[in-house]
Amino acid sequence: MTIVNYDPRLVKSKNPYPKGPNDWKRFFSFNTDAKVIGIQYIVTALFFLLIGGLLAMLIRGELITPPSDLFDPTVYNGLYTMHGTIMLFLFLFPILSGLTNLLVPPMIGAPDMAFPKLNALAFWLVPVFSIILLLSFFVPGGPASSGWWSYPPISIQNPLGKMINGEMLWIIAISLSGISSIIGAVNFVTTIIRMRAPGMGFFKMPIFIWTVLAAQLLQLLGLPALTGGAIMLFFDLTFGTSFFRIEGGGDPVLFQHFFWFYSHPAVYVMVLPVFGIFSELFPVYSRKPLFGYKFVAVASFGITILSLVVWVHHMFYTGTPMWMRNLFMFTTMLIAVPTGVKVFAWIATLWGGNIRLTTPMLFCLGGLFNFIFGGITGVMLATVPVDIHVGNTYFVVAHFHYIIFNTIAFGIFAAIYHWFPKFTGKMFYEGLGKVHFALTFIGATLNWLPLHWAGLLGMPRRVASYDPEFAIWNVLASIGAFILGVASIPFILNMVSSWVRGKSAPPNPWKAIGLEWLLPSPPPHENFEEDIPTVLNEPYCYGLDKPFVEDEQFYIEKSLKKH
């Protein structure tokens, strides 16, 4: 029965920060404690969410009226490029790495990550490439301004002919981000495979762990393509090689393949852990087992495999031959199947439950609602003839914001609220949380729902000015964006004041089942220390009378005693 995949040698990692775990200064040091690193990632990422959001306000300010009147169009292009880049590489990826760092070791009963020093290195690369990226605002000619795709030839035109330019700094930053992610991925995968608590076979892992594994394997498979593409682009830009330059016989479309071979899976790298978060939270707040645990677990890998073979759906109108378009339409549509399995399982989990509408649950429900919508527009976009019309219009922008903000960011907010008491040891204020949810849901809907119509009518994305017939949709979107800006106020207020002076949190405030909830809040440096629990059953056995670990009472008492 007992599957021992736990290596006790790994238990003994030393706390490298001498003053102990209660010193705030450890957050500013090269600390190797995954819980410290997790919080470092999350706080850094939230800071960049503010910067990226500020850029979004500027974008929406320009787009509230048809003519290009707020900025010179060159400035607009730089702003939206940096907005997309910051949101993806400085907000989303880091915040997900942060949650993964916080959650993986406690959830599998490990004391820390497999490679704590690499882990700290992966984090400290984030401020390095962030600063490089931000510095690019100040180089002559301005920052990169060819969109986050950075397609050549536009990205290698280098109008001023200077060696150091915004695009070059952009490529360096993205490559460093890729290296950081690869290091992170090696660490997460190793930790999950090698360091699970005794008894925790694959089909006893929490779904969040499944999705992290699926996502991080995708990183390992996909990132080399992007990094390779970025290096070639760097050479073309800086040293005049012609991988993608037609002057030397290169092919600009080749870059698009490199780019999307990674960047499509990247979307799933971001959304999979959020699927994990939904799968964790729905059972807790409806007090029911996750419906079809095994199906949901395996569906994650269905998504991983399929998402490696769909990238051409971003290139349906680049001159791709018919057979290839049809083939990639089929593969893309197939992804709807494992994704549907998850959606139906979540709804079945809710069915007949005892629903508690706490802030994290509200964000999950809102996220699921939006995800169903975004998934449906996704299938529309996979349909070649429809995509040929709406591709590269605001319909796409609306679609991916429904996924990336209205689903992924919602899931992240849910996770932050849900695990806040566990890792800070403080409760947050429900009232403020609900205000945050309401403003976010209203703002996000107003921001991105109307833009679907702008796209259907033929408004191209990335424009700084547009024909007056699109104005109404853009005015609504801009109002929504400003509401989202306001929504950040209750969130920041809640986080800061709860952490400073919130009520202290019990070990298991939500009465949830999971190893992390058997630990004190906040958990000690090495989580379970010498007493690693032995897992007996699948997680989420609400109401089933199946204990999750051997001698559960011992851990409950221990977690209370620590307090």
Partner: protein, 311 residues
């Protein structure tokens, strides 16, 4: 627990009734959405348009049904399964249901296979894209023998940072694209710098134009009128200005236009980016870096920048 079960049993009949009513309402509303979806799209001005719109309406109908089915269930749950305050007891401990899980794997699978097959057949009907041939940098774009039949063409579509120019088989140059209605016209898509995209929303058609390659393309306009042609692939500073008009006219008027335009002298064509750039220079060249816009194209028909468009 017991009372709960009894409550559900007693509601048994009314529950199926409610479900039937909900499904009927959902189907009705979904069909209505599909019907309305046509009005969300621009005028149908090409042969492709009604295929695309039918597909989109079909997907809107199915999508609405699924969306309302799922979110309606969620709403039901939120109304009837809310835990009373301070009630932290468990719900019904269902772990899964193999039959259900197989159904919701197979049904979506069949559905998406159906949609892709339908779309594939539409693709084969449309076949707008001809061949894509690479040629050497700096060389003239080669002539390509088009295998498919067409009624008019080929018209060279030349895209630049940031203006459009159309060269007709008899050698006239124009800033706007004139096309005869109901005739299949053929194009050679050419770019002189970066990637652009030939996009006419009223036609529902879009094709990227790739540096170093020549792409042949055909389409049949089906409605007379003025339609916007928009560059849909981000092409740098004045990308938003890289638009012109497609003027679809009767065959008679079209050939009259051809005959009259041949006689006109070459003059400066539409180039809104050029004038914006001059304005920027006059204002002290503020802003971030950009390449210089291409010079004004020399054309026989200079077009009208503010011509009102139908869609």
């Amino acid at each position: 627990m017991n009372t709960k079960i009894r409550r559900i049993k007693k509601r048994g009949f009314s529950k199926t009734f409610i479900i039937i009513i909900a499904v009927i309402l959902n189907i009705t509303f979904s069909l209505l959405m599909g019907y309305w979806s046509y009005s969300w799209l621009p005028i149908q001005a090409s042969e492709a348009a009604h295929y695309v719109d039918n597909l989109f309406a079909f997907e809107t109908t199915i999508g609405t049904f699924i969306f309302l089915g799922c979110t309606g269930t969620m709403a039901w749950i939120l109304v009837f399964n809310r835990a009373p305050k301070y009630d932290e007891s468990n719900g019904e401990p269902l772990e899964g249901n193999l039959k259900l899980e197989i159904i919701w794997t197979i049904v979506p699978l069949l559905l998406v296979l159906g949609i892709s097959t339908y779309s594939t057949s539409v693709n084969y009907k449309l076949e707008n894209l001809g061949s894509k041939v690479k040629y050497d940098y700096g060389a003239e774009a080669p002539f390509i023998e088009e295998k498919k039949v067409f009624d008019y063409g080929p018209i060279d579509v030349i895209s630049r940072q940031w203006n459009w120019e159309f060269v007709y088989p008899n050698g006239i140059h124009s800033s706007e694209l004139h096309l005869p209605v109901d005739k299949k016209s053929n194009f050679r898509l050419i770019t002189e710098d970066v990637i652009h995209s030939f996009y006419v929303p009223a036609f529902r058609l879009k094709q990227d134009i790739i540096p170093g390659s020549i792409i042949t393309y055909s389409l049949t306009p089906t409605k007379k009128g003025v339609f916007r042609l928009r560059d849909a692939m981000f092409s740098g500073a004045y990308f938003s200005e890289n638009q012109t008009n497609v003027i679809v006219e009767s065959e008679e008027i079209f050939y009259k236009w051809i005959k009259e335009t041949v006689k006109k002298e070459l003059q400066n064509g539409l180039n809104p980016a050029g004038s914006l750039y001059q304005k920027r220079l006059r204002n002290g060249n503020r802003g971030w870096a950009t390449v210089k816009p291409a010079p004004d194209p020399k054309v026989n028909d200079a077009g009208i920048e503010s011509r009102p468009h139908d869609s």
